[in-house]
Symmetry: C2
Subunit: 241 residues, 2 copies
């Protein structure tokens, strides 16, 4: 049984249309009622219908064309929302004790590889931190991070003994853009040693680059033992789900 919390008109219209699209009653390409007709059907103003259809268009469920009307969209690329949590939160949601240790920490002038990873044009100082996240005292994830000291000079004074670089940066750099690259690699001897796994074990690798308006912030490579970990992304036509 579904409990229907007495919904707003907006939600009701939205839900009705979504249901018809998702059920296949209105297949892709089908023209859905004009705003004025919807307004008449629900005995509401056109603005209300408009807002619903605008939202459906933004979520990709319908396409709107002036003069022609609104049409159910073709479901194309699965666009799923991937929530990449902070590692500490992730570990704690597994009800395991979290800890973090810094394995190496060096400051240097950016070399060619650093420049490419951070998309730096000139030589600048970077901080290179290798650390390990533990869940219940077992290695959970290897973090290899580069921080651009030109953008975040405060990082130089931080040892990251008490707070992980990711969490620290989240507090330092309020909101930023990021690019995540997900791939699979075999653990080499060094990675295997740090994560306490067999050499050659498949690992899930997330490489994330982060920018603020002031410039490149950080580039991080997170290596998870593949047999212990998976990322989950959900997709639902309406949006939340």
């Amino acid at each position: 049984m579904t409990i229907v919390k007495d919904a707003t008109l907006h939600q009701r219209i939205l839900g009705d249309i979504e249901a018809r699209i998702v059920s296949g009653e209105w297949p892709p390409g089908h023209r859905i009622p004009f705003e004025v007709d919807l307004a008449a059907d629900y005995n509401c103003s056109r603005m209300t219908a408009n807002k619903v259809l605008t939202q459906l268009a933004k979520s990709g469920l319908i396409e709107r064309r002036k003069k022609s009307g609104s049409f159910v969209a073709q479901p194309r690329a699965q666009s799923a929302v991937l929530a990449i949590a902070e590692i500490e939160a992730e570990v704690q949601s597994l009800r395991l004790a979290y800890s973090h240790s810094v394995h190496a920490r060096t400051k240097r002038r950016a070399n060619a590889d650093d420049k490419q990873r951070l998309e730096l044009s000139e030589a600048a100082s970077v901080l290179d931190i290798t650390s390990i996240h533990h869940a219940a005292s077992a290695p959970f994830c290897l973090e290899e991070r580069l921080i651009s000291l030109a953008t975040v000079p405060e990082a130089e004074a931080e040892t990251f003994a008490k707070i992980s670089p990711g969490t620290w940066l989240l507090k330092q750099v309020p909101w930023s853009a990021a690019e995540n690259r997900i791939s699979a690699v075999s653990a080499d001897a060094s990675v295997a040693g740090l994560l306490d796994i067999e050499k050659g074990t498949a690992c899930l690798v997330i490489e994330r680059r982060t920018w603020s308006p002031a410039g490149p912030v950080t580039s991080v490579r997170l290596t998870y033992p593949g047999d212990r970990h998976a990322l989950v992304a959900r997709f639902a036509p309406g949006g939340e789900g």
Copy 2:
């Protein structure tokens, strides 16, 4: 230089606020102007300001509390949008010739494993298809798919010789919910043989389960050689970007 297409008032207000949040001028926790004040600043109606703030709240950049006002949100889990394209489109975007071959195709009553993968409660018929996607005649991706014939009986008549199961299903089942699970595994002998890679090579695995209102549709396991492939997900505070 940035070309500014003469934007609507809505976009201008939205952009201004986003810029101030992203730049750190308005840090997390900062109270942003009330709707009426924003309306006064931009010489517009409260409705226009309201729509902008509502959108910012939906995108997670701000939090709104009645009576108190609207506040810049704390950036929490990186929520990135992961676009999982159709394999054929993906290959063609690499400017490579696409082809697809079915390696095995069997119909059977669902066994225990099938039931778990499709979340079936009763025994029902399923179609099990193993196929390989090629890019420029080299194996690109291994697809192991289970289709619930109770939900999609039409699949039984289809050989999938000319059209891949994914593409076919996309046409059959208009809109549906999905769960994607991304992990890393080492190729076993069988997978290595089919993908023409060394045994033990790390592979990126996407397991996707799809539901329609009529029930479970399909469960597919896509295995990509990890050294040739990566998924990219982007995150930008505003939304599109």
